[in-house]
Each structure stands twice: as structure tokens, then as C-alpha cells.
């Protein structure tokens, strides 16, 4: 191997001891988890919004954003359950570019994983302590989930990871909803296979241990659009796509059929400002079909304080340094509109 073993990192147990959860925060997470479980098990018909920046590039802006979300959540709590996105690690198509707070706690400095691990735990912890939100993050490196397992309420497995065995097996060992995205090529069978794996029990190696998972009945689909072989984006949020997914679920025998629809990525062709329109179309399909209404549990929205995106050294507070997001005003309006339409 040509790895330079730079330094041994503290274990998840140690890092959790360094930045422990207060009893109050633990209670908030339990309440959030229960609210989500009720929705996925069909005991509640509240609508989920997994919403927030494409990447959590700086703690101050992310915390301000989440604090604002808290107010909105309190106003729509009869209809909507908000799970803020704090995405601390980003998959990159060629591996180049900003890889998220985990790698670069300071986006303009060299990677520092030790600092990064502390930074992402502190950020998730602060969000939970300050606002009562236990948030969503992407499961990019399955073993790193241990550092955050007590603060997250939702995990997404990305389009590039969904075919990976380790992601599927790790998902089967979590007690929180895991959204598994359709792959970039759009093959829904790949996603359905991932769900089958995630809902079953497995024996495997995790963090140097032989472990047995119980299977995760809360593993569900995320439709995020896809790319044609010609390269252009194609959406899969339309009525027909949702009916097709419903049929796939019917044949599969999977527990708790559910989908979260991603309104950005290939569904909007990254035209971030189309997200409110796409959201309304999905709500419209839900009104037309009882099956779709039962299947669609919520939306995933990319949103931040400022519209659009910038280069990592752009310096605009609250603007995405990865994919473009809708800004705060449009976000707030969009959430209230969704609440009205439900």
C-alpha cells in the first residue's frame, strides 16, 4: 500500500465523550425520531421536508439558516416535519474539489480530517442543542456514521453510493430512516435492490468488528432524476414515474413503501429556482392518485440563505459553494405554499 498513515484518529466513542449530548438534546432527537417513524409507518400523514444547503460549508451560516427554519417549523408543525440538511461530506464526480466540512473544516485550507471530525460533530450537536433539530446528513463514508449516530435523524445514501455493498449493509444496521437515491443512470432496480438489502439482516465487518444488523424497515426510496447517456438530465418526479415506483414497491414485498422526491439535482437539471414549481407538481400528483399520496412522504430541497452558488473562495455568507440552492425568501415562501396545498 502506498498509504501514509499520518495519525491515528480518536474513536467515535472518544469523540462522543469529548462532545457529549445533553439530556435535553437526546430527548429532542427521540421526539424527532418518533415523528418520522410515525410518518414512515403510516401512523401520521404529516409531510417531510429534508431541506437545507447542498453542503454545510461554514458553521455560522448553517446555524443561522437552521435557526430560521425553526421558526418556520413551529408555524407549520400541524402539517410538516422539517429535517434540516447538514451535509458535511460531499461526493465529487472525479474526486477533485471541495469534499465537505469533514475533509476541509476551512474550505480554503488543506484537508484536516481530525479537525474535520470534531467540526462536523460540533456543528450537528450545536444545531440540535440550539434548535432541537436532529438533522440529516449524507452517508458517504459508512464507518463515519458512528461519530454522529446520536445526533442524526435522517441519512441519505447518494446516487453514486447506492450500489455499494458497504452502504447497503450499514443502512441495514441503522434505526433512523435511510433514503436511498436512484443511481445517476436512472435504473430504479438498482435502488430497489439497495432497499431490499437495507431492510434485511446481515453479518459483516464494521469498524474492525464482526457485527450483525437487524435490518432497517425505515429504508426508503429517493427519486432524484437521472442523466441520459447523452449527458442531459431527465426528471423522474412526474405522475408516471411515481406510479411506476408504486408498482415496483407492490412487486417487491418491501416494508413501508415510501419515497422522498428530490426537487433539485437531475429533477431540476440544477435549475435551483424551479424547485417550488416541481414541489407543486408533485403535490398535484398526490391529489390525483391515492397510491401516490400514500407513497410520497416528502421532499428533499436544496436551500440556503442566498440564491445560487459561488466558487469556494467566493466569500458570500450563506451562499452555496457546491450546487446552487434557493435563497431564504423563496424557501420560506415555498414551505408556506406547500403547507397550504397539503
Amino acid at each position: 500500500m502506498n498509504l501514509d498513515f499520518k495519525r491515528e484518529l480518536p474513536s467515535a466513542r472518544v469523540v462522543k465523550e469529548m462532545y457529549p449530548l445533553s439530556n435535553e438534546a437526546a430527548a429532542s432527537k427521540r421526539a424527532n425520531d418518533t415523528a418520522l417513524q410515525d410518518i414512515f409507518y403510516g401512523r401520521s400523514d404529516k409531510f417531510i421536508l429534508v431541506i437545507g444547503p447542498c453542503s454545510a460549508d461554514r458553521a455560522d451560516a448553517v446555524l443561522e439558516y437552521i435557526t430560521r427554519l425553526r421558526e418556520v417549523q413551529d408555524r407549520v408543525s400541524d402539517k410538516i416535519v422539517i429535517i434540516p440538511r447538514i451535509y458535511t461530506n460531499k461526493p465529487r464526480t472525479t474526486g477533485a474539489g471541495y469534499k465537505g466540512m469533514l475533509h476541509q473544516p476551512d474550505p480554503e485550507s488543506e484537508p484536516d480530517m481530525l479537525k474535520g471530525i470534531m467540526a462536523i460533530r460540533k456543528l450537528h450537536l450545536q444545531a440540535l442543542e440550539n434548535t432541537g433539530f436532529s438533522c440529516a446528513d449524507e452517508m458517504l463514508y459508512p464507518e463515519n456514521h458512528s461519530y454522529l449516530s446520536d445526533v442524526l435523524s435522517y441519512v441519505a445514501v447518494g446516487a453514486r453510493s447506492v450500489e455499494n455493498q458497504m452502504h447497503r449493509l450499514t443502512s441495514s444496521g441503522l434505526d433512523i430512516p435511510v433514503g436511498m437515491k436512484n443511481p445517476t443512470g436512472g435504473m430504479l432496480s438498482v435502488m430497489m435492490n439497495a432497499l431490499t438489502a437495507a431492510q434485511a439482516s446481515h453479518t459483516f465487518v464494521y469498524s474492525g468488528w464482526e457485527v450483525v444488523s437487524k435490518g432497517n424497515p425505515l429504508a426508503h426510496a429517493i427519486l432524484r432524476g437521472y442523466s441520459h447517456k447523452s449527458g442531459h438530465s431527465a426528471p423522474n418526479y412526474h405522475y408516471e414515474d411515481l406510479i411506476f415506483l408504486h408498482e415496483l414497491y407492490e412487486e417487491s414485498g418491501l416494508k413501508n413503501p415510501a419515497v422522498i422526491v428530490d426537487t433539485n439535482h437531475s429533477n431540476s437539471d440544477k435549475q435551483y429556482d424551479q424547485q417550488p414549481r416541481i414541489a407543486k407538481e408533485i403535490l398535484h400528483s398526490m391529489r390525483l392518485s391515492g397510491d401516490i399520496k400514500k407513497l410520497v412522504k416528502g421532499l428533499m430541497i436544496e436551500s440556503y440563505l442566498v440564491d445560487g452558488s459561488q466558487k469556494p473562495d467566493g466569500g458570500v455568507y450563506g451562499q452555496s459553494i457546491t450546487d446552487p440552492c434557493i435563497g431564504w425568501e423563496k424557501t420560506e415562501k415555498m414551505i408556506y405554499e406547500i403547507a397550504d396545498l397539503l
Binding site: 495519525r7 491515528e8 480518536p10 465523550e17 469529548m18 481530525l114 479537525k115 470534531m118 460540533k122
Partner: protein, 369 residues
């Protein structure tokens, strides 16, 4: 009313107001003196004074008054310092070493109004503060003359005191003889072995015989007692004054100026960041690590990841446990920041024992020779 009377009335009312403000300022000064006593800090704080003058002069709108105002302010600061020194004159500062030793010089320069209390050893000086007999103790951190400086580290590890101030004292050697003696007549020099070593070129080139002595101040006393015009001591300039010896030669050391460092130990931790700039802040940590592979490396990784530059890392055996060691770190940076507090939080999990011995800025005693 004519102009003269009117303006005198203005001055009267301004003076009345200023008298009240003066009292208020002096009261604040007294409170600061009390704080400085508890924390073992010197009355004079050059950085703070400069910052104060810099900030206040900008408040003067009429440029013509500015120079007068600065001079007024300096006078005010001077009065305040004198008052504080008077209040601190009852302060008791412990040190270990004879009069004229570097510990004595450091203590006197820092606290020149305080009464200095000489103790037999570092331990007694340290305990005298813990027991409330003295307000602070000036003890060497790095000092080739003080012998076992390690003992001070052990006290820092085991004891309950904090360091809020470190003093850098430049050490310059002088050749001291009895009054009436001359350099040409000297045959033998006596001093602490380290001092002799640092002046070895000088001693060789003059053909002196060197004899080792317990410490530089005692060597000077010996020269005085024997009254031998062929005998000289190598010691500080201050020692010459104290012992009534004559300086026969200066700049006798082989290279440059050595610096010895003293820490002021007191019962209270300063906690809040001092007026010093961020870059000037340093801190001392002592800790033990769990007895497992890579435990020390993990600790150092964490310090590094918080961006603190370690100036020194020393290890010392723990007296109560054979083959167990504790570590003594000095690092640059402000520990009373969020970053510093996070680092302590992280370290407290992986260290078996962890203590912040102090955070301080360094007070450099100018070399006035």
C-alpha cells in the same frame, strides 16, 4: 458677567466634574491593584498603557490639544500606578535564592514595592502561597543556575497554584572584585559552574583559574568575606551593588545574552484573556496519558489540530508511580478562546489527568546595561 469670570466658571465646573471622575478612576485602580495582587501580576503593563493612550488620543477632536492630552494621560497613568504600588506594598512575594540571585532580581523588578520573602527552596516558596503566607511566588521555569528547575515542574503538576505571568530575565555576567582590586591583579575566579562555562573563553584568555561555587551570589559574598584582591566572582551587576563589590569587567560571556525565565505562581487563575495581543499569549499544560500505544501522539495531534504551536514538551517521572511520566507543555496562543476551551475539552477525554497550569504573557525585563 465679563468673559474672564464666565470662563473661570466653566473651568470650575469642569474641575468639579473631573474631581468626581478622578475619584472614580482611582477606585477602579484600587480594584485592579487587588486583582493584580491575587493573580501575581505587575502594576506596570506597557502593552495596556500604550493601547490606552492610542485609543484615547483619537477621542480628541482638536488636533492642537492632542499632544497635551497624551501628556496629561501619561501623568494620570503614572499617578494611578504609584497609587497601586502603594496599595501593593503590603504584598508578599516569595522566591528562593539569596539576595542578588537571579530569582531575587526577577522578583524585585516585577514587584518593586512588595516585600520579598526569601525561602529555602522552591517547595517552601510554593507552599507559602498555598498556605496564604505569601501572595505569589517567583520560581524559575528555565534556568541553568537554579539547579533543579524540574522541581518547579513537579510543583506545577502537583500543586494548586496558577501562572498568570512569566518573566524573561536577560542574564549578563560581570567580573566582580573587592573595592581597590583590578582586573590585572585577578588570579582566580569563582562562580556557579554554568556561569564559569559560559565565560570560559574569557577565563582562558586571561589565564584565570576557575573554581566552582554553589551559586553566583554566594560566590560574590565569598569574595567580599575573604577580601582577597586576587579573587573575583562572576555574577550579576545587581550583586555587585548588594555585596559592595566593584565591577572589574563586563560583557565577559562567550556569546550574546542568556535569558532565564521565571513564572509567577499565585492562587487565582486569571481566566479571562488579558490585555496582551493574541500572539503574545502562551499557556502551560501538564497531563498524563493513558498507558497505551499512541496515547501521547493522540494528545499532541489534538493540540496541533487546534493550531497551537508547542514551544516545549518535557516529561518528568511521577514520584508516586515508578516508570510513569507526566508531560509539561508550553505552547503559544490564547487558551481562553473558544478554540482553546474546545481543545481542553477534547484533551480531558484522552488524558488520564489534565491541568491548565496557567495562561500568561511574557514580561521581558529590559537589559539596561
Amino acid at each position: 458677567m465679563d468673559d474672564l469670570s464666565r470662563n473661570r466658571e466653566i473651568i470650575d465646573s469642569v474641575d468639579e466634574e473631573m474631581a468626581r471622575l478622578f475619584e472614580k478612576r482611582m477606585q477602579a485602580g484600587a480594584a485592579i491593584a487587588q486583582y493584580k495582587k491575587e493573580h501575581g501580576l505587575p502594576v506596570k503593563d506597557r502593552t495596556r498603557e500604550d493601547a490606552l493612550i492610542e485609543k484615547n488620543r483619537k477621542r480628541i477632536e482638536n488636533a492642537e490639544y492632542e499632544a497635551y492630552y497624551v501628556s496629561f494621560l501619561k501623568g494620570m497613568i503614572d499617578i494611578s500606578c504609584r497609587y497601586q504600588e502603594k496599595l501593593l506594598s503590603g504584598m508578599k512575594v516569595a522566591y528562593s535564592g539569596v539576595e542578588g540571585s537571579f530569582a531575587h532580581i526577577a522578583a524585585r523588578t516585577m514587584f518593586h514595592e512588595a516585600s520579598l520573602v526569601c525561602k529555602n527552596d522552591f517547595n517552601q516558596a510554593y507552599r507559602s502561597v498555598e498556605l496564604g503566607e505569601c501572595d505569589c511566588a517567583v520560581l524559575p521555569l528555565e534556568n541553568s543556575y537554579a539547579g533543579e528547575v524540574n522541581a518547579v515542574m513537579d510543583l506545577a503538576f502537583q500543586g494548586s497554584l496558577f501562572v498568570n505571568q512569566v518573566i524573561d530575565l536577560p542574564v549578563r555576567h560581570y567580573l566582580l572584585g573587592i573595592p581597590g582590586s583590578t582586573r590585572e591583579g585577578i588570579k582566580t575566579v569563582i562562580s556557579h559552574p554554568q556561569a564559569l562555562l559560559q565565560c570560559s573563553d574569557y577565563i582562558c584568555s586571561h589565564g584565570f583559574t576557575a573554581q566552582e561555587f554553589g551559586n553566583t551570589a554566594l560566590a560574590a559574598r565569598r569574595v567580599k568575606e575573604l577580601g582577597d584582591a586576587s579573587l573575583a566572582a562572576i555574577a550579576s551587576k545587581e550583586t555587585a551593588g548588594l555585596m559592595g563589590l566593584t565591577i572589574l569587567d563586563d560583557k565577559i560571556q562567550d556569546s550574546g545574552i542568556n535569558t532565564t525565565r521565571f513564572a509567577v505562581f499565585s492562587g487565582a487563575s486569571e481566566g479571562a484573556p488579558s490585555s496582551a495581543g493574541k500572539d503574545e499569549e502562551s499557556f502551560i499544560l501538564v497531563f498524563t496519558v493513558k498507558n497505551e500505544a499512541g496515547a501521547l501522539a493522540q494528545t499532541l495531534n489534538i493540540i496541533g489540530s487546534h493550531g497551537y504551536n508547542m514551544r516545549s514538551l518535557r516529561s518528568r517521572p511521577m514520584k508516586e508511580l515508578l516508570w510513569n511520566y507526566y508531560f509539561f507543555i508550553e505552547a503559544e496562543g490564547n487558551i481562553n478562546s473558544q478554540n482553546g476551551q474546545d481543545m481542553l475539552k477534547e484533551l480531558s477525554v484522552i488524558c488520564a489527568r489534565l491541568k491548565l497550569v496557567g495562561s500568561y504573557k511574557t514580561y521581558r525585563i529590559e537589559d539596561n546595561s
